[in-house]
Symmetry: C2
Amino acid sequence: MSGEDAPAQQQNAVDQKQETKPTEEPKTEPPKTESPPAAAAEAAATPAATTEKVPEEETFTYRALVLTGYGGYDKVKLQVKKGKPTLKAGEVLVRVKACGLNFADLMARQGLYDRLPSPPVTPGMECSGVVEAVGEEVTDRKVGDKVMVLNRFGLWQEVAVVPANHTFLIPEGMSFEEAAALPVNYITAYMMLFDFGNLRPNQNVLVHAAAGGVGIAATQLCKTVKDVTVFGTASASKHETITQGGVTHAIDYRTKDYVEEVRKISPKGLDIILDPLGGSDTHKAYNLLKPMGKLITYGAANMLAGQKKNLLAVAKNWYHQFSIHTLSLIQGNKSVCGFHLGYLDGETELITEAMNTILDFYKEGKIKPRIDSTWHLEQVGDAMRKMQERNNIGKVILTTEPMPEEEKKEETKKEDKKEDKKKEDKKKDDKKKDDAKKEEKKDDKKKEEPKKEEKKEEENKEEPKKEEK
Amino acid sequence: MSGEDAPAQQQNAVDQKQETKPTEEPKTEPPKTESPPAAAAEAAATPAATTEKVPEEETFTYRALVLTGYGGYDKVKLQVKKGKPTLKAGEVLVRVKACGLNFADLMARQGLYDRLPSPPVTPGMECSGVVEAVGEEVTDRKVGDKVMVLNRFGLWQEVAVVPANHTFLIPEGMSFEEAAALPVNYITAYMMLFDFGNLRPNQNVLVHAAAGGVGIAATQLCKTVKDVTVFGTASASKHETITQGGVTHAIDYRTKDYVEEVRKISPKGLDIILDPLGGSDTHKAYNLLKPMGKLITYGAANMLAGQKKNLLAVAKNWYHQFSIHTLSLIQGNKSVCGFHLGYLDGETELITEAMNTILDFYKEGKIKPRIDSTWHLEQVGDAMRKMQERNNIGKVILTTEPMPEEEKKEETKKEDKKEDKKKEDKKKDDKKKDDAKKEEKKDDKKKEEPKKEEKKEEENKEEPKKEEK
């Protein structure tokens, strides 16, 4: 429930970190502010190649992403750790295949998330992989089990030690990427909608950031209930996708006032509002509630402005933070709830119950995680940027698959291009406004994306063979 | 939803009130502060006798309780109104048999409830009776239907005009008293537990004032769900009754710290807390919640101290009023809800849905309103006192049956006795503390109660015959 019963894996993670040789830190890279992946990639190149072939206790090494300090994307570095983690009773060792990125990871990087211990520390709340060893007293997991994992942190690495009851068996037909995309977003959406929200037929729901991980999960879960209307906010370019995914009314929050748009269609207001934004948007949401309506706030994305901590944004969010008197709640017949999965560790029973229902939905074909893009560990900075700049539709995934040499070269070229691009951007900055600039960056990136996606798919085809061995 | 769509019956009530002859106000009674019923009874004696036999439009009269100004129990007076109310489309005229008392009525008398228009006005949010006339466009109610009624106010009178969709058919075997006891308490408890609370098997619930109307309804409704644990607060003398009624752990809030008592049994805290108290108790409740717990606050009973508005109590309640930041909700994974049925008028669909489930529970024998005591309209002051001093176990009911002459004489004697009693009390007051005094008063009253209850039962036996005509 509290920090006291933090999972054993955390302590391991810390131990491992201390075993990391300082010489493995990237040295050759000149100080950069926005292009860490190349640096990290170089640092990790040699050890990565040897990881799979030398599993002996003493020479056991694995790659891990480490948050080295609070700040921009470059603060997450790829390091090589040495020494096979030991298992305590009730724990399992998971060979990680894919990891999910979450908003909390972005907040954590800026020092805005208190569930992550101080750097240096390995972030990552969810992953998928294969059980490689089981500790004593573990009865329901065995070596070779494909599992997805939910943990407070520490999963962005090739090997993770976690309590067995933090793992869930991956059902038939679910890929490792899907499995890494599922836990945080779907449990969050499920508990908000079905526990706090008590969603029932004919109700209407507002889903902010409907193209994000939680947004897509929430939309799909809403559709498991009869005649639920989903209002979803997203920039216009994402409307087609989210509408196909189940959003009834897509609203472009950049060009329209979402409150007005909702009122046009539902003058009485809304039954459930999922609010990841915080600040003044929480006030708007509260006023948009019907009697017996539920506002469920689960983040403060408005605090994230830019890649480093933006004190003005934080202060503004704090200043506008929603505070509510019971008298107002009584007279309005309203409910205000707060949710964050990161503060629910210890509630294994609740989480397992939710996960079982979610997996049933998956087996029945009612839900399916949508993967936006998959990135190598070396590309974690780009992956985070894509999410933070809201250029994703669905989940951003990291894969632990080693990066092919030719791709690394390409990556370096891209980094150079990005540098040029940045310079160009800076010039344009004087003429154009922020929003317009973002749109352009996004378009440029989109052109690059399909190539990456295709390559990824080829790699995926190979993967199942390896596991069958 | 708001005051704009207040039921038509309210306007009628106001019209009727204006037709009341000022000469019907009690004149002969010397000014008293605490014994209005006798006065009101005298005033109403003659018209009451003629009500049933002269139903012609012009000479139509009926008795009505009227709040004449904010203050003590004597501010609610029994008056006789003249002129048959006219029906608008969609309305029905109900011949009222029994009325329920609610905490909001007590708050209203002190001027602490903004859903009741300014005095003079007839209070009363619920009643039962027989449909005597139907307006145009009413298709689902007919003359002779036995109904229970839920309205914003205006039901403490012999005749009430209400929208047909504010009435619910009384099921077979339910007495008028039970029917008058049901709507407010059971809909309130139902919506709090099953809509906001999302009550599920194995959960635990704290019910404050577990011997009160909502408390008993909530306890019974909790028991419709498998393995729900109910913590109920009440003074020790009521423990046997509430335990028999379904409370798992009865806690004497007068002698024990209920927070400690709950923690002893459920160290992790509670899933649902129903809080009618407000002020500092809301803070305690919030801290007692488990992760994913729901605090549902539905009143500010702590504001009621004494029969007249107690500015200190009001100020204290205001000062301690619970206010919550979203950040705390997020980190705690908690929900804070406010509920008040009085602000839900207009939400006919929600209310009808809840009522249908409640009536199903009744038919299945899962719930049964518990009547504490039944009082004549003339005794409304005593009835309110009983409730406000927390001497009731279950619902306090008013009946519109005329008071038998011999009972009236007894009543007058009792009033005299009470005056003596009060003088005695004042003397004792110097020696004893407030609490002790209340306990004694309660005991005295209990001795008188059984007689009244027996008489009531005899009257009830006669009633069904009349209705069959």
